[in-house]
């Protein structure tokens, strides 16, 4: 059963450059797919279409709902997007208010929204931080709160844009552990091949605005030489 | 230029608090076209930017540096009404969180810097951009700080803060110097922003009636200067009154009594305040004018 179906997605930037040149993609329920590719290859542009933040040509269906202007709110309840910059995502003055922002936008009464938010924060291990200001959190903590803000809406699909950027190794491990425990279908845009290996059953490789290849994470990494460990210390 | 508490007399801060409340409410209630709740993050972040930018020092000479105030920059970048809200937010945080500027004096500070300062930072830009953009921006920065500074001085004078002639001139000179610096910083900043990404700034609507804009600028400047002169005049008379009738002049209700010499002071003070009301009216009028022309 596919929760996400993309057909022929094309997008042109205002200045004329073609960002996406006909992308076809499918995500099945419970699957986790890694999205790899060079900076500027269209990965982030692609995921921004999935909840209607960007509009392009072609068709996108989320759990059978076509992503169109009329359905955006419905779609956004199903697709939880965790942005690359957590400081932009955590814009409310306290952690609790930020996580409750989503449910309250969907008309859930404040008490219920707050109760749900507390649960989501517990789930990501940030239950103690409810009254804290996001400014005082570390990178990893912010990422987890952002995730809670998305989980509280019970989405079908989790989309994560470079989730381990600027996290120290312990925080990276913690995030990986947390993500593995979540049942939602996942799409992870990342440069972190270790994360991809740990999470994804499948990977796609973006190049110049289209998917150049598909396969297991190892296959893709090998084919495109996508591991950072290619610098040899042996100079002989 | 942030007036702390303890300087302004009750009639002055009271009047300004009463004036600022409806003014800010009107602006905030989207009386000017085009501000919606979706713009709130932009206003907040821009306010944070100006706040942070105010702490950057601009070396202007050996051992001296100037700082941005930002009214003109915000007005040029966001438009006058959003800029007014952002400046009000900045002033509120400065007063409540950093004790920079008084709480009772907030109305006066908001009027000086968020309303008049922003308007005086926008009208020249609007009126003269066609002539020379750099000059228009420089004038905007300069007039913004000069207008707020003169108003602040006027409010202090009307409150009875003694200011001997030469101190007054030194203060004016000080404000003029800061005004020139603000103009220079604003121009440099705008130019640098345009070099970086021209799309970040909105271009001023070509005003088919820049005559009205020029008149509005002149009106604000003249009114401010006039108020300053009028407020400065009772100085000598006040000194006399103090010397000869200290007892009842210094009683708490002196401001409200109408006896002999004090009535003269009161009349001039009333004139000062009335003039300020006129400025306020001029600002609202020209503001509405701009809003209509923006359609």
């Amino acid at each position: 059963m596919s929760v996400l179906r993309v057909r022929g997605l094309r997008h042109r930037y205002p200045d004329g450059t073609q960002a996406l040149e006909g992308v076809d993609f499918e995500l099945d329920a419970g699957e986790c797919v890694a999205v790899l590719g060079a900076n500027g290859s269209g990965k982030t542009t692609f995921v921004l279409h999935l909840n209607g933040l960007l509009e392009g040509e072609g068709s996108i269906e989320v759990c059978g709902i076509p992503v169109r202007k009329e359905n955006l709110k419905q779609v956004r309840a199903k697709v939880g997007l965790v942005f690359q910059d957590s400081d932009e995502q955590l814009f409310m003055p306290t952690v609790l208010e930020d996580v409750a922002f989503g449910p309250m936008n969907f008309g859930i009464p404040p008490d219920q929204a707050i109760a749900g938010s507390r649960k989501a924060l517990e789930q990501v291990g940030m239950g103690e931080a409810i009254r804290k200001a996001p400014y005082h959190l570390s990178g990893g903590e912010k990422r987890r709160v952002a995730l809670a803000g998305v989980l509280v809406m019970n989405p079908e699909i989790l989309v994560l844009d470079e989730p381990t950027t600027s996290l120290d190794p312990p925080a990276q491990r913690e995030l990986l552990r947390l993500l593995r425990s979540l049942p939602q279908s996942k799409l992870v845009v990342t440069h972190d091949v270790a994360l991809a290996r740990g999470l994804a059953s499948r990977a796609v490789f973006f190049e110049h605005g289209r998917i150049a290849a598909e396969g297991s994470v190892d296959e893709i990494a090998e084919r495109f030489n996508w591991t950072p460990q290619s610098v040899s210390l042996d100079h002989r | 230029m942030h007036i702390p508490d303890g300087f302004l007399s009750a009639p002055v801060w009271g009047t300004f608090d009463l004036m600022a409340i409806p003014a800010v409410s009107a602006i905030a209630r989207r009386a000017q076209r085009g501000i919606q709740e979706r713009d709130i993050p932009l206003l907040g972040v821009m306010g944070a930017f100006v706040f942070a930018a105010q702490m950057i020092n601009f070396p202007v000479g050996p051992g001296t540096s100037g700082h941005l105030v930002g009214g003109a920059l915000l007005a040029i970048a966001l438009g006058p009404a959003p800029a007014a809200i952002a400046m009000t937010a900045i002033l509120a945080i400065q007063a409540l969180v950093f004790q920079d500027g008084g709480v009772l004096a907030l109305g006066a500070n908001v009027f000086n810097m968020a309303i008049v300062g922003v308007l005086a930072g926008y009208l020249p830009y609007r009126a003269w951009s066609g002539v020379s953009r750099s000059f228009a921006v420089f004038a905007a920065g300069l007039l913004s700080v000069l207008a707020s500074g003169c108003l602040a001085l006027a409010e202090l004078l009307v409150s009875g803060v003694p200011m001997p002639r030469h101190v007054l001139f030194i203060s004016l000179g000080f404000f003029l110097m800061n005004a020139v610096i603000e103009g220079a910083i604003t121009v440099a900043a705008i130019r640098a922003i345009e070099r970086l990404n021209p799309r970040l700034l909105r271009s001023p609507q070509r005003s088919s009636s820049s005559l009205i804009a020029v008149m509005a600028v002149a009106a604000v400047v003249l009114a401010v200067a006039g108020i300053l002169v009028a407020s400065a005049n009772p100085d000598g008379i006040e000194q006399l009154a103090r010397a000869h009738a200290p007892a009842w002049l210094n009683s708490p209700l002196a401001d409200y009594q109408v006896h002999g010499i004090e009535s003269l002071w009161l009349r001039r003070a009333a004139a000062g305040v009335a003039g300020l009301v006129l400025i306020y009216g001029a600002c609202v009028f020209t503001g509405k004018l701009i809003a209509r022309r923006s359609v």
Binding site: F101 | A10, P41, R242
Partner: protein, 230 residues
């Protein structure tokens, strides 16, 4: 930034911290009005105001010396005007100027040192301050330190490279502006992604309890009594 200390203070616990933000605001306003309208020669009144603030400092369980030091930051500005006033032949007014500005500054500091900014904003909102202004202030405060840090980093980076000049400052300003603008776009996208459709959700309002009413009445009466009697 020194403000970090005030933030920590605001999250401490004490009888004063526990009071409702509107009650504290009301007490502050009453105090400020009393001080502002006090006659310059009413020195006993100023002493009494100081005692009142002393009691508030005790109730806040915050370090008095640090509070006084921070409140004293207003003094250089006031001292200048005070000197001018003294020199103009009005020593009482000069003294009153310094006393009034210091007492007012200390009182305002006590408010923010015992009330987290977010609670203060909730209080202001409950007092019918326009919602748009409250929200803008909220966002401003949220990103104030983020952007200030960026500014500091830029300053350090540029100063160590080519020295800090007018040009460098203008360039730094432009970059800060551009980043702020981008950030605003990012925030808006994040808002949309979580269902924002035009209005910010309203959160719960603070509630008055008996203790708050008692506190408010007591503070206002104390300020009024000093003002009228001394």
């Amino acid at each position: 930034m020194h403000h970090v200390v005030v933030e920590q203070w605001s999250r401490a616990r004490s009888p004063l911290h526990r009071r409702e933000p509107r009650a504290k605001l009301g007490a502050l306003l009453a105090f400020l009005i009393a001080v502002s309208t006090s006659d310059a020669r009413a020195q006993p009144a100023f002493a009494a105001y100081a005692v009142l603030l002393g009691a508030a400092i005790l109730a806040s369980r915050l370090p008095a010396a640090a509070l006084l030091r921070r409140a004293a930051l207003v003094l250089p500005f006031s001292a200048t005007f005070a000197l001018i006033t003294w020199w103009s032949g009005d020593p009482w007014r000069a003294l009153a100027l310094a006393e009034k500005s210091f007492l007012s500054g200390l009182a305002a500091l006590l408010l923010i040192a015992t009330t987290p900014v977010t609670d203060l904003m909730r209080g202001l909102e409950a007092l019918r301050v326009p919602r748009m202004l409250i929200l803008v202030i909220q966002f401003l405060y949220r990103y104030l330190f983020v952007i200030s840090e960026q500014a500091q980093h830029m300053r350090l980076a540029a100063a160590s490279r080519s020295g800090w000049r007018f040009r460098s400052a203008a360039g730094a300003l432009a970059v800060l502006f551009a980043r702020a603008s981008e950030r605003a776009d990012g925030i808006y996208r994040a808002m949309l992604a979580r269902g924002f459709s035009g209005r910010f959700p309203a959160f719960s309002r603070p509630h008055f309890h008996t203790a708050d009413v008692v506190f408010l009445c007591a503070s206002v009466s104390a300020s009024a009594a000093i003002r009228l009697a001394l």
